[in-house]
Amino acid sequence: MSRAGALLTREVSLAWGKGGGPLVALGFYAGTATLLPLATGPEPARLAAIATGMAWVALALAALLSLERLFERDYEDGALDLIVLSPVPLEIVCALKCLGQWIATGAPLALAAPLAAIALGAEPRLAPLIFACALVGGLAFAFTGGIGAALSLGARRGGLLTAVIVLPLFVPPVIFGGGALDAFAGGLPWRPGLALLCAYAAAAVALGPLAMAAACRNALS
């Protein structure tokens, strides 16, 4: 247990560490959320209709940005070799790394998501649901994104490869979360969308580490 706690502390502090971490992700999020209305046109009615959707897509992109170095830096400097020399299974190591990533960048992004949506013209009453979707969706983004980060280990331009692998895996949470928010705004049943989002996140947390560990073993051998 002390091993797991030590690793989680390390992962959170590395993600928070010098070079921005969550601040860079938040800045990227703010930038994307500002760019979208400039491209679609500033009429408030049109913006309000797509505000939650834009906030949600920008969130997926910001989550992707911070994933690139999740395994790469430990792979390059030999830390991954040393982490393997421990009784903690590699699957647990991968899960803890993704969890640390979620705590350090997913949670701050989830706090920013309602603000961005409201700034784009979404109704304030949507804020709690946007926060909940972003928090659960962030978990799904971290654990599916980790698979891409692990698979691209050792590849040149690994960050780009990560994005190509991961974006298709981001499709279901974007659909479920966006659907729930749309339904809530239109007074329709929104719980099924949120439930599907939670189910996808749960599946990612359960299965993602198996795939990440296999990819890490492959890269190390």
């Binding site: 091993r3 502390t9 390390r10 590395l14 400097d77 991954l80 070799d81 040393l82």
Partner: protein
């Protein structure tokens, strides 16, 4: 715990090139082995093979009666030039994490800080350390988390003369308490040892 290491007919291939073949070595508790050989002969690959990070093409690595997986997870330290230390974290953070991760506790961490004289460096970021100080931080793990088998990849190279002598005493202590050491070296190892020349 590991009290025996045997390499039998070990062959390792990296990147399509056969580095060495039919290598044999037996070490018992309290014994050290020096791996020598020119650059690129495969000393680092041999250490990584013993640690289970590189698959051998033929032959076996045995740890006595112990299951190799458990022996590697609990019984060995690997210290080389890829030390896994993060430049942006402090000496204290890195020492504490790696010690806890490899099974150390507060008492052994304090002993490691004292033995490697790290107390004045604890609040410095790893990027501020000199090569020798950084190596001392990496070596501190050996004491902070006691494990019987030490795999050392040129442990002395960045150390000054005084620290080479003192690390020699640390190695001698480890051997006298039943430890095993396999070290890739270019300079003579400052403890009694067997020599295994690779790629001869």
């Amino acid at each position: 715990m590991i009290s025996h290491l045997s390499l039998e007919n070990l062959s390792v291939r990296r990147g399509g090139r056969l580095l060495f073949e039919s290598l044999n070595l037996t070490l018992d508790a309290g014994e050290a082995a020096a791996l020598t050989g020119r650059n690129g002969a495969g000393k680092t690959s041999l250490l990584r093979t013993i640690a289970g990070l590189v698959q051998s093409e033929a032959g076996t690595v045995g740890f006595g009666p112990q299951d190799p997986g458990a022996a590697r997870a609990l019984g060995l330290h690997l210290i080389g030039h890829l030390d896994g230390l993060k430049p942006g974290r402090t000496t204290r953070e890195e020492l504490t994490f790696w010690s806890l991760w490899t099974g150390g506790g507060a008492v052994s961490i304090a002993l490691a800080i004292e033995t490697l004289e790290l107390s004045t460096l604890l609040d410095l970021e790893v990027r501020r350390l000199s090569a020798g100080q950084r190596r001392r931080l990496a070596l501190a793990r050996l004491i902070a988390a006691p494990r019987p088998l030490w795999l050392l990849d040129e442990p002395l190279s960045p150390l000054d003369a005084g620290w080479r002598r003192r690390f020699g005493q640390v190695m001698a202590n480890h051997l006298s308490t039943g430890g095993l050491i396999v070290a890739a070296v270019h300079d003579p190892l400052p403890v009694p040892h067997k020599t295994l020349e690779i790629g001869a």
